[in-house]
């Protein structure tokens, strides 16, 4: 069988970017949370806030480190595998990525040291400033990278001359039609990721009776935040969908599993799309709901996949299920946030074991939803790499052979499997060890100024039982 460099490159890109995306999303959420805790500490002087902020800084350090090493890979992917795409779009993409490095990565690197190791060296106010700078860095980074990504979905502000894209309006290109929705949706997804991890870990500590006072504060605060963020995510997602209907109708058809343009479209809760025969099997739907949501009219007409030539149809299976997984988990998140509110009277929130155990399990869901969301949106764009302008095969590196692509695909998978294992293993140890693990330790000189070493938890010793109070 002939190895296809296109398929292999797509798998490789999806794999490395999905691996990478988990960590930045987590970093954004946690860095904002740490800044908030530090701010509360500065404002109230309550040491419980400081204890929390110290613990979550440790977690942040590990996650951030994983984001950095996986990010280096991304910087070269566009050149190695998508050189024609890079060549054509460099006039727009180059400045976006460069600005990300200049305004975000260096900002994060500059203040990270003070955040991680400067607690004893600078005043709480300066420390708070460092935390705010790092958090801003992660948010600025999402601004630029999502401007680039959104432009690939809804290109604007450019014209093509001799196969090369020239920017005619920077404002139109950066603030392209899908960008505001995608940015808001992604930032909220990051907050949800941070929030559910914090809630899950606090819940676990409460079950174990570990530092109850601080963890109750953390849980209560996060649940208030989630009560706002989870429903807001659904609202923004809805707007995002309306925007997509306008600019990428084919993607909506794949998301909703609509094969023929029709009116009064049902919302499919479940179905098995059959691309071969251009139809669905085992449909379970709610009548007229899709039309109602997307056109605000129960009898509205929605475009179907039949309007696109077969070769230009997205791989419906991925788009369709990716979307359902994301929305399903989103609804579950809203339910948990609401349950948190319902359990507040009498403080049952801190004692109801079923709820606490549930929260523990919920901490992985935002990451699954996030990846499912990206799979929806990216596969829904296929076969285009720049919607309507350049296909994936046009963007591919011409000299790339299947063998080369296979080699690096296996290579990255192996490297990431090892690194991921080490990182996650260490992270679970930090969490297991608990919040007070090293507040007692008064280490004379901690010089390091870099990710992960902020936490002095052993990588492979066996003393991991959390301290109980």
């Amino acid at each position: 069988m002939e190895l296809d460099p296109l398929i292999l490159s797509r798998i490789q890109f999806a794999f490395v970017v999905a691996f990478h995306a988990i960590f930045p999303a987590f970093s954004i959420g946690i860095s904002v949370f740490v800044a908030l805790l530090q701010g509360l500490f500065v404002a109230t002087g309550n040491p419980a806030w400081e204890r929390l902020s110290m613990f979550w800084t440790k977690v942040f350090a590990v996650v951030f480190g994983m984001g950095v090493v996986s990010g280096i890979v991304m910087a070269f992917q566009f050149g190695t595998n998508w050189s024609n795409f890079s060549q054509a779009t460099a006039n727009f993409f180059g400045p976006m990525l460069s600005y990300e490095v200049l305004t975000a990565f260096f900002l994060e690197a500059g203040f990270l040291g003070v955040l991680l190791f400067g607690r004893d060296r600078v005043s709480p106010g300066v420390h708070l400033f460092a935390a705010l700078m790092v958090a801003s860095g992660t948010l600025i980074s999402s601004f630029w990278i999502l401007a680039g990504n959104s432009w690939m979905h809804t290109p604007a502000g450019v014209e093509v001359r001799d196969g090369v894209y020239h920017v005619t309006s920077w404002l139109d290109a950066i603030f392209n039609p899908s960008f505001p929705y995608r940015l808001a949706h992604m930032v909220l997804a990051s907050f949800l990721a941070g929030g559910f991890v914090v809630a899950g870990v606090s819940a676990w500590y409460l079950i174990r009776g570990h530092d109850v006072q601080a963890n109750r504060k953390a849980l209560s605060m996060t649940l208030w935040l989630l009560l706002i963020a989870a429903p807001a995510q659904a609202v923004i997602g809805d707007f995002h969908g309306l925007n997509t209907l306008e600019h990428q109708p084919g993607k909506i058809a794949a998301i909703e599993g609509i094969w023929e343009t029709e009116s009064s479209v049902p919302l499919l809760v479940f179905a098995i799309p059959d691309q071969e025969n251009q139809t669905n099997r085992f449909e379970i739907g709610i009548p007229k709901l899709a039309s109602l949501i997307l056109t605000h009219d129960p009898d509205g007409e929605l475009p179907g996949l039949d309007e696109i030539p077969r070769v230009e149809q997205p791989p419906v299976w991925f788009t369709f299920y990716g979307f359902r997984i994301m929305v399903g988990l989103g609804i579950l998140m809203i339910l948990f946030a609401a349950a948190g509110l319902a359990l507040r009277p009498g403080g049952r929130l801190y004692t109801n074991r079923a709820f606490l155990q549930g929260l523990r399990l919920m901490s992985v869901t935002p990451f699954i939803a996030l990846l499912a969301g990206w799979i929806t949106t990216e596969t829904g764009r296929a076969p285009w790499v720049v919607q309507g302008m350049m296909t994936q095969s046009e963007g591919l590196t011409p000299s790339l052979t299947g063998g080369m692509a296979l080699f690096t695909l296996i290579g990255y998978m192996t490297v990431y499997a090892m690194v991921f294992w080490a990182g996650i293993y260490y992270l679970t140890r930090v969490v297991r060890k608990g919040m007070e693990a090293d507040t007692s330790e008064t280490d004379e000189s901690h010089r390091p100024m870099r990710p992960m070493s902020a936490s002095r938890v052993s990588f492979d010793d066996d003393d991991t039982a959390p301290g109980r109070t």
């Binding site: 090493v69 910087a75 006039n91 180059g94 460069s98 200049l102 990270l112 010089r447 870099r450 492979d460």
Partner: protein, 333 residues
């Protein structure tokens, strides 16, 4: 602004980020290369501690060089990366292992030997790949209508293996002189002993590459042996730095060996640039062929000129905070 001037400014900025990366990450990689030869585990701890506070920021210069090339000279990015496809993978994998080892080695006890291997191996592979990139660059790239048209292993030739090994020796020298500057006692003693041997190795490779380069490319021959004679000042300066280094090692100076090695790197790098100028994708494309649209270069330049000084501020500040010697037992455990 005149597109000609704009491209020239960009060439300078990118050349600057590349040399920043080479020397800043270079001494850290160099310590990784020397890792297996360090006298004992304590020396390894000390070495790692000297690099620990700053390696992460150093690596960001590589990312900047990459993205700025895409922004200012996309052709360089889109020809060279496909041409070095396998090499780039090796370099990135090396950097990942090196970075993760940096973070996790100190927390490991039982698995520490494994992290030592990851640190040393990652650094060696990354350094070799970077040296091979330089070699491949000197040799030039096979292109067809603005895309790379050669094979996956074109970059791997006896010449590039030579430059790869040369880079390893050079970075090891940079690392060892950094160790001299940042440590004392037995670790420093060891570094003083190793440095002259590395210097000999570097000079041998330097001589071979210098003689070989004009031979692989007649244009370079032209330039060095008939046109502009003044450029001989560059290798002369590099050799002067080598002599200075040798003297400083004998005299047990602490700061000068590192500075002299930086000088060797700097003049060799300039020598390489003038051999090729203005070709950025040798042998066919010049700076101006490779340039992005002027409006893109300008859009990016405005922000860069504003932000770059601030970044240099952070960097110097970080080095200032962590100035002074690192002693055994210091740092985190």
């Amino acid at each position: 602004m005149d597109p000609y001037v704009l491209s020239t400014i960009w060439a300078i900025i990118i050349a600057f980020s590349i040399i920043m990366y080479v020397v800043l990450d270079g001494f850290v990689l160099g310590m990784g290369i020397l890792f297996p030869f360090a006298p004992d585990e304590e020396a390894r701890d000390v070495m790692m501690n000297t690099g620990a506070p700053i390696w992460d920021g150093n690596e960001t210069w590589l990312v900047l060089a990459g993205t700025a090339l895409l922004g200012a000279f996309p052709l360089v990015y889109t020809v060279i990366l496909p041409a070095l496809y396998i090499g780039v993978f090796l370099m990135v994998a090396g950097l990942i292992f090196r970075g993760v080892a940096f973070e996790l080695r100190f927390k490991a006890h039982r698995s520490r030997p494994l992290w030592n291997v990851a640190f040393a191996g990652g650094s060696m592979v990354a350094a070799f790949a970077q040296g091979a990139v330089v070699g491949a660059y000197i040799l030039g790239f096979e292109t067809e209508s603005s895309t790379f048209s050669g094979g996956p292993f074109d970059w791997l030739t006896p010449f590039t293996v030579m430059t790869g090994l040369g880079m390893m020796a050079g970075l090891a020298l940079l690392g060892v002189t950094w160790v001299i500057m940042k440590t004392e006692g037995p670790v420093q003693e060891w570094a003083y002993r190793v440095a002259p041997r590395l210097l000999v190795g570097v000079l041998v490779v330097f001589a071979i590459v210098s003689l070989w380069t004009p031979y692989v490319d007649p244009e370079v021959w032209e330039r060095w042996f008939s046109h502009i004679r003044v450029i001989w000042i560059l290798p002369a300066m590099a050799l002067f730095c080598a002599a200075l280094l040798l003297w400083a090692l004998r005299a047990r100076r602490e700061l000068i060996p590192f500075l002299a090695t930086l000088g060797m790197f700097f003049f060799t790098y300039l020598g390489l640039l003038v051999s090729r100028w203005p070709y950025v994708v040798p042998p066919n494309y010049t700076l101006w062929d490779a340039a992005a649209a002027p409006e893109s270069q300008l859009f990016l330049l405005i922000g860069t000129l504003f932000v770059l000084p601030i970044i240099l501020g952070y960097t110097s500040w970080a080095y200032w905070v962590f100035r002074g010697k690192v002693r055994p037992g210091e740092g985190y455990h």
